[in-house]
């Protein structure tokens, strides 16, 4: 057992119970995203299926190019113009894919919100913070400007922006990165969404500020019962707040299970290798750091069979030619011909 730093000596808190019985909020089925380019088609996302239930947080992890962002941009109808989408994405029972923009706009930013890594790209630079929050309210609800301003102030306080009254009249560039991300979250929360998709919301921030934002997201999930998708490349980030974890590789879902199943007893060799190659701050300096050879695949040239086979230590002949299907066991799913076995679940 690695010794834990003094600062981590706190009673263990449990995750919220698995919400397998809660109603599905978003049902993604057989989603595929292809990009048309002069050099041919890029299969960025393939046969991606995932159901997110009310109040649960799903962590979506994987390395760059795995297809994490494009999967959820597709759901939001925010893909680049050279993208072709296939499959289904039902939000609160209604199909989102293929809906005209005006109809999508009614859902986007009100029932379903998304935040990104760089708040500067989604905040309007020449618009005061208060106006940006109010705008969404005025667009989606019947509110007077005065009510909207009061609500904007309440929202800034809700996301723990200090000195909120003054911030209402500031511009995004006058705020720190952490403060901007809080404002972005306030904008996303304006119309009480039932679901928030957060794409690398803390990647550009300092660890200290990241911890504050993650704490805020955990609090929002707990107190507002909001469903959440947290896209990240950091397994540590999902360990703190996700109920379930989806692992993507080469544009496909390769493993899905409860946070404990995936991080403690992964079935997929890629998940395990990723965990081993990530140094933990609570492990001593001389602990081994196992590396994964090679690099994440380029979706233009995905290896045949199992896309992970050139880097997999368990790979056998079959892995090179036959793509492993996603199979289910003990409520977990994984796509591997020779999965890691853990014996009877504890």
């Amino acid at each position: 057992m690695p010794s834990t730093p003094a600062t981590a000596d706190l009673p263990a808190a449990g995750h919220s119970p698995m919400t397998t019985t809660a109603a599905p909020v978003l049902e993604i089925e057989d989603l595929s995203v292809r990009f048309a380019t002069p050099d041919g088609e890029i299969p960025a996302v393939n046969d991606f299926s995932l159901t997110i239930r009310a109040g649960e947080c799903i962590g979506v992890v994987g390395e760059s190019g795995a297809g994490k962002s494009q999967s959820f941009l597709a759901v939001m109808g925010l893909l680049a113009s050279n993208a072709r989408v296939a499959g289904r994405a039902r939000f609160e029972g209604r199909e989102l894919l293929g809906r005209p923009a005006e109809e999508l706009n009614q859902v986007r930013g009100s029932r379903l919100s998304m935040i990104f890594q760089d708040p500067m790209t989604s905040l309007t630079p020449h618009m005061r913070v208060g106006e940006q929050i109010s705008e969404s309210l005025l667009r989606h609800t019947s509110t007077t400007p005065a009510q909207a301003r009061a609500r904007a102030l309440a929202l800034l306080n809700r996301v723990h922006v200090t000195d909120a009254e003054r911030r209402l009249d500031q511009y995004p560039h006058e705020l720190s990165g952490g403060m901007r991300q809080r404002v972005m979250i306030a904008v996303a929360l304006a119309c009480d969404p039932v679901m928030l998709i957060a794409d690398e919301p803390t990647t550009a921030l300092d660890v200290t500020i990241q911890a504050q934002i993650l704490q805020l997201l955990a609090e929002l999930k707990r107190e507002q019962g909001m469903a959440m998708v947290l896209v990240t490349h950091d397994l540590g980030v999902v360990a703190g707040i996700a109920d379930r974890v989806a692992v993507m590789y080469g544009g496909r879902l390769v493993e899905l299970g409860t946070v404990r199943q995936v991080l403690k007893m992964p079935h997929h060799p890629y998940t395990q290798a990723l965990l081993r190659s990530m140094p933990r701050v609570d492990e001593p300096a001389d602990a081994p750091l196992v590396t994964i050879q090679g690099q994440p695949p380029n979706p233009r040239r995905l290896p045949p069979g199992c896309a992970f086979h050139p880097r997999c230590e368990q790979a056998q002949e079959r892995c090179r030619s036959e793509r492993p299907p996603l199979v289910e066991r003990d409520g977990a799913r994984f796509a591997c011909h020779f999965p890691i076995e853990w014996g009877a679940p504890a």
Binding site: P5, A6, P11, A13, H233, R280, P284, A285
Partner: protein
């Protein structure tokens, strides 16, 4: 204990900022009064939040930015007053690897030319066959095959570009390798490869490493000692496992608590334990202890008195007025 390769004495780097205020330009104290002995053969980590002065400190060591006050002593010789011409021969022993692997490689040069460039400058006695040998040798050491010498940087992934950057820095076998966030732009699986490569190179060539990073987990695997900076000031310096297991400074404790651990049995409880607030403006740092505005243990005394960075225990330095009372008592 090995000798000091590099010594910093009261090192300060100030930048003039913006408009004149009452006839004087305000000064931003990016690095303030840093004392440090870098021991030959060690890997020393420099950590702290964005803007705390890590890169500026590294650049001051290389004299890429000139110190405003203080001394930089390299192998017994003060170098902060040397001219660029006088510095040139020293550059052979002091090399740097940057964060953005692709941006730090000249796109118009082949890999062979990029890695050979330092040899042309610093080892003019080598003929082209000799240079080729050295280039092939170092490429092999960083895990690349020698047949890439005629290709260009854009043909390579981020991890491969970082290996090329390391090869260019190591081709002269420098005594000191400065790495400024060398793995921050890389994928998780590639970070581990680069950390292990640096460990191997250090074992084989015995160079000293100054490793700047905001990734505290990576620093723990690579470095023997770690220096914690806040607003340009040194807060704590200790052997690595000592610092991570018995941090004496409240800032170090806050930083460590913020690092997420990929373990669902441990991480949820850590979520609420990190530091509040944000870095104050370096243009108007707090009086007394600069950390006091975010310190959970600050008292009225911390507002008035500037803590001195001093040895709390042999080989463990800390700048906190209250370290003794706050020290974790019943731990090993």
């Amino acid at each position: 204990m090995s000798d000091s390769l590099l010594t910093l004495r009261g090192l300060s780097v100030w930048f003039p900022i913006g408009d004149r205020l009452f006839g004087r330009k305000p000064m931003l104290h990016a690095v303030e009064g840093v004392d440090l002995d870098l021991r030959a053969g060690e890997a020393l980590g420099i950590v702290g939040e964005s803007g705390c002065g890590k890169s500026t400190l590294a650049r001051a060591v290389l004299q890429l930015v000139r110190p405003t006050h203080g001394q930089v002593v390299w192998m017994g010789r003060r170098i902060e007053e040397l001219s660029l011409g006088e510095l040139r021969p020293l550059r052979r022993d002091l090399q740097i690897v940057f964060q953005d692997p692709l941006a730090s490689l000249n796109p118009r040069l082949t890999i062979g030319e990029i890695v050979a460039e330092p040899l042309r400058v610093h080892r003019p006695e080598l003929d082209s066959a000799g240079r080729k040998r050295e280039v092939a040798d170092i490429l092999g050491r960083v895990g690349l095959s020698a047949d890439i010498i005629n290709r260009y940087p854009h043909e390579f992934s981020g991890g491969q570009c970082q290996r090329i950057g390391i090869a260019r820095a190591m081709v002269l076998r420098p005594k000191l390798l400065i790495c400024d966030e060398p793995v921050s732009a890389l994928d998780v699986s590639i970070q581990a490869q680069i950390v292990n490569l640096l460990k191997e190179l250090k074992r084989d060539f015995g160079m000293t490493i100054l490793f700047v990073s905001h990734n505290l987990a990576v620093v723990r695997r690579l470095c023997e000692r770690v220096l914690v900076l806040y607003l340009g000031r040194t807060m704590e310096l200790a052997p690595t496992d000592e610092l991570y297991e018995r941090p004496l400074h409240p800032y170090t404790r806050g930083l460590l608590a913020a690092v997420p651990i990929p373990d669902p049995d441990v991480q949820p409880a850590r979520l609420g334990t990190s530091l509040g607030g944000e870095l104050p403006s370096p243009l108007s740092p707090p009086s007394g202890c600069v950390f006091r505005t975010r310190c959970p243990d600050a008292t009225a005394q911390c507002e008035r008195e500037v803590p001195v960075f001093k040895a709390a225990e042999p080989d463990h330095h800390v700048a906190c007025l209250r370290w003794h009372e706050l020290r974790p008592q019943n731990r090993r």
